[in-house]
């Protein structure tokens, strides 16, 4: 960790934000019919599990849950070297589903673009909605989130890190310079 490191969302704040997102998803979609959650590895996949647990608490429904690794859909293979490729695991048909794509931090939008390309290869969802814990700005593509935990103005050089415990539950969010 670098010298300047501030907590921008504490543990209670993370939990409240995820609970609110779960409620917003249910409200906007008028229930759980045809809903499915897909998290982007690795942070988004952990958060998708949290949102699923909350929706289960509220509605008593266990939503289908998948995880997508976007390494093979990146547009920067040429400049970054070969990143390790993780597993994509979507154990249900995406056709006609309302897919809630979950990520931890929304930044340039390129990850989301890649994730949407990946989802399209698995089927034809009815809609794709985006839920993120942190929106830090600096978009490079016309992408916005439908459900946002917190908007945090940042400079490009800063880093936003969502910290997880050993059970993959989120602890807090740091802003490091």
């Amino acid at each position: 960790m670098s010298e300047s490191n501030t907590v921008i969302l504490d543990h209670a704040g993370v939990k409240r934000a995820l609970t609110r997102i779960a409620h917003e998803i249910l409200e906007y979609n008028k229930g759980t019919e045809n809903l499915a959650l897909v998290g982007i590895r690795s942070g988004g996949a952990h958060l998708a599990e949290q949102i699923r647990a909350r929706i289960n608490d509220i509605e008593g429904v266990e939503l289908p849950l998948g995880a997508v690794d976007i390494t093979m859909y990146r547009d920067d293979l040429g400049s970054r070297g070969s990143l390790p490729v993780g597993k994509t695991d979507i154990p249900f048909a995406l056709d006609d589903k309302k897919v809630i794509l979950v990520d931890d931090v929304l930044f340039t939008g390129r990850t989301i673009r890649a994730a949407m390309d990946a989802l399209m290869d698995f089927g034809r969802p009815n809609t794709i909605q985006l839920a993120v814990l942190i929106d830090r700005g600096h978009r490079e593509l016309p992408i916005r989130s439908d459900y946002t935990g917190r908007n945090v103005p940042t400079s490009r050089e800063e880093k936003v890190l969502v910290e997880f415990d050993t059970d993959n539950a989120p602890i807090e969010v740091h802003l490091a310079k």
């Binding site: 093979m72 859909y73 293979l77 400049s79 070297g81 070969s82 390790p84 597993k87 290869d121 698995f122």
Partner: protein
Amino acid sequence: MSFRHKHILGTENLSREDIELILETAESFKEINQRDIKKVPTLRGKTIINAFFEASTRTRLSFEIAGKRLSADTVNISGSTSSVVKGETLEDTAKNIEAMAPDIIVIRHGHSGAPHYLAERVDCSIVNAGDGTHEHPSQALLDLMTIKEFKGKFDGLKVAIIGDIAHSRVARSNLYAMTKLGMEVRFAGPGTMIPVGFEKHGAIVCDNIEEAISGADVVMMLRIQLERQANTLLPTLREYARFYGLNPEKLKLAKEDAIVMHPGPMNRGVEISTAVADGPQNVILDQVANGVAVRMALLYLVSGAEMVEE
């Protein structure tokens, strides 16, 4: 960790960490082969030349499918239809291919060391798809992926490799890789087909197939190259089948849960009986399926390695 090999020439110069990264990457890519839409854009815009100067169905098809599923443009040339038959040297052929700016050349060649020779002379990545009697790294890696799938580990496993060890690039590539992964490698075959000195590389050379197979976790049968060695190195094929062919009776000497592998193409009734080839312990088609995933991983990793170097 990042992958730093621009070329895949053999398993001899891969570390245990390299091998594990390749296999993990292949496991991730394997899922693509089970999708309805079997294509990802990872290598979009890359050009891969499959230069096969020696006959091959499986390996060439496997590399071609691997490249296409990663969205690379793959082009095949084969020895018999290329200007090699007009007397062009390998280096000139390669330089001409390179002038058309491919990113990767996958090469199979009858001469040991041909890929290494090219790797020193061209700028693009070279992937060895089998060179003479030297190495066949992608085959060894797909064998390892299959072993990992069925055994869940490498350390301490006993592997019996049976047949024409002297002329087998599969045996060499597997030996180099398996000893690095902590496996015990036993060789058995007719005396004319076992070169001296393999003990120095960590292999255990057995006097007969029974000794090699006893207690083995993996039994790998090599193809007898009927077109080449059968006449000079063996009295008769029937004798070979009797002493070195794998049948259900000999297989009983191996562990109960041992798996049977073969790099293909099989000579049924020679090195492997039909009862074993189609029996419950065979994983031969799993090997073929994993071959595509392993080759996708290799093409992906060498593509990125180029950039790490620069």
